[in-house]
């Protein structure tokens, strides 16, 4: 802070400039905020407008108002094109199951790291921290092989016994869920949370003779609700929007998720862009609803992720 002391209270022109800044800073900030807000809203607004216009008008003015107006695209998405509801269902299944499993498993692992003592704890925890820095693309190919055909063709021969080296989950929703049912960031987040959490309640429970598992499921899980919800939202949003792995694992349209399905649909029926726009809003809507309902937690989740290094 030595630099601050050097400043003398009497500064000439600098102070004048500063006065100008003080005067105009709020309008400038408002301009920045409003400008960026318009930029953020514009794509979604145009999407909404054109999704309410007939398919043939996907590139026809007016830009600002849906005339001629039609709900046909939404009807196509919801009823006449049977795959859209399928994709929506698949996305929901993957999102909900992955989120539920991840919240549970991350809480369990976080609790173990924070509260229990076992050999190699420090080593494993550090290994986990290192793995968080690893770029995902490096394990893309082996991951694909393990989920699908296996790393060794025909399995591993062990004294007459053939052990498959892959899960054979290509084109199955389980194949998308499996590798993501727990992740390092979630474990880390829960570990930090349980570390900062008073031990008294658990100790009281243990005094009463409740075992570790009982304590965890009856006491610890319920009181970490807020943190779990934050993790759940973060997970659900990530899974709902995931692209590269489902693209490699899911093969037939009836098993696609909404993002995979939408981009496939564009390849197959590129003249029906208004339908794609309507479908896009369907992909965005659930997250928006969750966002408005749990805004506080969303913002907390982002803030948490930022402070992990600091």
């Amino acid at each position: 802070m030595a630099t601050l002391a050097r400043r003398t209270p009497t500064a000439g022109s600098g102070e004048g400039l500063y006065a100008v800044w003080e005067r105009f800073k709020n309008p400038i900030f408002y301009a920045v905020l409003i400008g960026w807000a318009l930029l953020c809203l514009a794509p979604l607004y145009f999407t909404l407008v054109f999704s309410l216009k007939p398919v043939e008008n996907a590139y026809t003015p007016p830009l600002w108002w849906p005339t001629p107006f039609t709900l046909k695209n939404y009807e196509t998405v919801l009823t006449s094109f049977a795959l859209f509801p399928r994709w929506l269902t698949n996305s929901v299944i993957i999102g909900v199951v992955t989120t539920a499993l991840r919240v549970l498993f991350c809480a369990m692992a976080g609790y173990a790291f924070a509260r229990l003592d076992f050999p190699l704890k420090g080593f494993l925890f550090n290994a986990m921290l290192v793995s968080m820095m690893m770029p995902g693309v490096v394990t893309l190919i082996p991951k694909f092989l393990i989920i699908g055909p296996g790393v060794i063709k025909g399995g591993l021969e062990l004294g007459g016994l053939t052990i498959p080296t892959g899960f054979n989950l290509i084109n199955r929703l389980e194949g998308v869920i499996l590798p993501h049912m727990v992740d390092a960031f979630g474990v880390f987040m829960m570990t930090q949370f349980y570390k900062s959490f008073p031990k008294e309640l658990e100790e009281a429970a243990e005094m009463d003779g409740t075992g570790r598992f009982g304590t965890f499921f009856r006491i610890v899980l319920p009181i970490s609700q807020t943190q779990l919800l934050t993790l759940a939202l973060l997970t659900f949003q990530g899974e709902w929007n995931r692209f590269m792995e489902p693209l490699l694992i899911l093969r037939t349209p009836e098993n696609f998720t909404l993002p995979i399905g939408l981009q496939w649909f564009r390849g197959e029926y590129y003249t029906l862009y208004s339908v794609i726009l309507a479908g896009s809003l369907f992909n965005t809507l659930p997250i928006l609803v969750l966002f408005f309902a749990f805004q506080k937690y969303f913002i907390r989740s982002v803030a948490t992720s930022g402070s992990k290094e600091g």
Partner: protein, 447 residues
Amino acid sequence: MKRLYQALSALSLAALVLAACAPAATPTPQVIRETQIVEVPMEVVQTQVVEVEKPAEQTVVRLSGWASSPSETALLESLLYKFSVENPGITVKYEPITGDYKQALLTAIASGTEPDIFYMDIFWWQELAKNEVLLPLDDLMASTGTQKADFIPALIDAFTFDGKVYGIPKDFNSLGLFYNKALFAAAGLAEPTDDWTWDDLKAAAAALTDASDPNKPVYGLGVPADPGRFPIFAFQNGGGIMTDDYSDTVLDGDAAVGGGEFYAAFKADGSGALPSDVGEGWQGTVFGKGQFAMVYEGGWLIPYLRDQFPSTQYGVVLPPAGPGGEGNLIFTVAWGVSANTKNAEAAWKVVDFLTNAASQQQVLESGFALPSRVALKDSDYLKNNPAASAIFRGSLEGARPFFWGAVGSDVNDQMAKALERVYKEGQSVRDAFGEGATQIREAIQSQ
């Protein structure tokens, strides 16, 4: 400490093995389980003896292909139904794949769970033959008296590798010149004929171009940077893309460059355009909308126009000949049989049935693709359908398979990029093709 490490690694290994075993084991027996469930209600009333024997007789053959359209799937299913009536001992399980087919098939082969019979595209099937995952079909063909000579030579030869037949072509397509009758009439031009040449094409494209309506310009010819269209101009100029043994490219030869210069000139003088110039992804759509007066497309455009643009009146003729004569591309798909199949004979029965004369007649009449059997050349259907007939005849006139050897995807990429450089960066065709050829040679080198 050491013991703990060991215990731990044993534990995690056990977990890995356990988890790996459980789901992996399910898919294979699933097939059998399903067929047994079908049999149960019938067997209840039958005697104990039959119940034991019946499943043993029943052979299950799994069959896979991509499903390009619901009606094409329906056609295959109706053929398979007919097969099951004629062959009660064989159950065919159809497993269509609609996503990335090649990737799905390779993954299945890698895990040893591939179907017994599957589609193979001419563009990449040799990769399978080279890696010995296909069953040679010669002996099986002999067993039912099916001969190579029954099929169009260009097609069956394309699925022969090292002197052995590995695939039976199920159907094929070639390119024809589709033209919009209304636009020709409006321009006061005579409609194209099979005898057209490059000069006729050039003159007509210029006369048909009409940019007077900026919102709906009309171009004479669609000239996409598409490696599935351009090569015919190299052929028609007396050249090619690859040497006969696919060990080198001739993209930078005079004939291919000349073909490229002719092709690119349409775009340069404004009488031709790319689909993206009018905001579309495929020129078939632009043709349907009446903004391209002529396009080179295959038989697949016929059902598309019927469904999407029923009011567009069009005709199809053979691609106009160039200085080097006729030239065309053959797109074809064959049935291949897995080398791992446990039911080679049953699998062959299915393939043979799907490609026999009666089935091929049904394929032809459906209008999706053309039959691979020579005998159908003179069928009434082709006489009554001039559009399909033009596509069929295209395969007989200077047509070569759409196949560029082991680096096929690189060759396609480089052709498309060379044309894009000409279109977008104003590079000369000779330089662009020269650069493309260099890249292709590098890809061949690094095989």
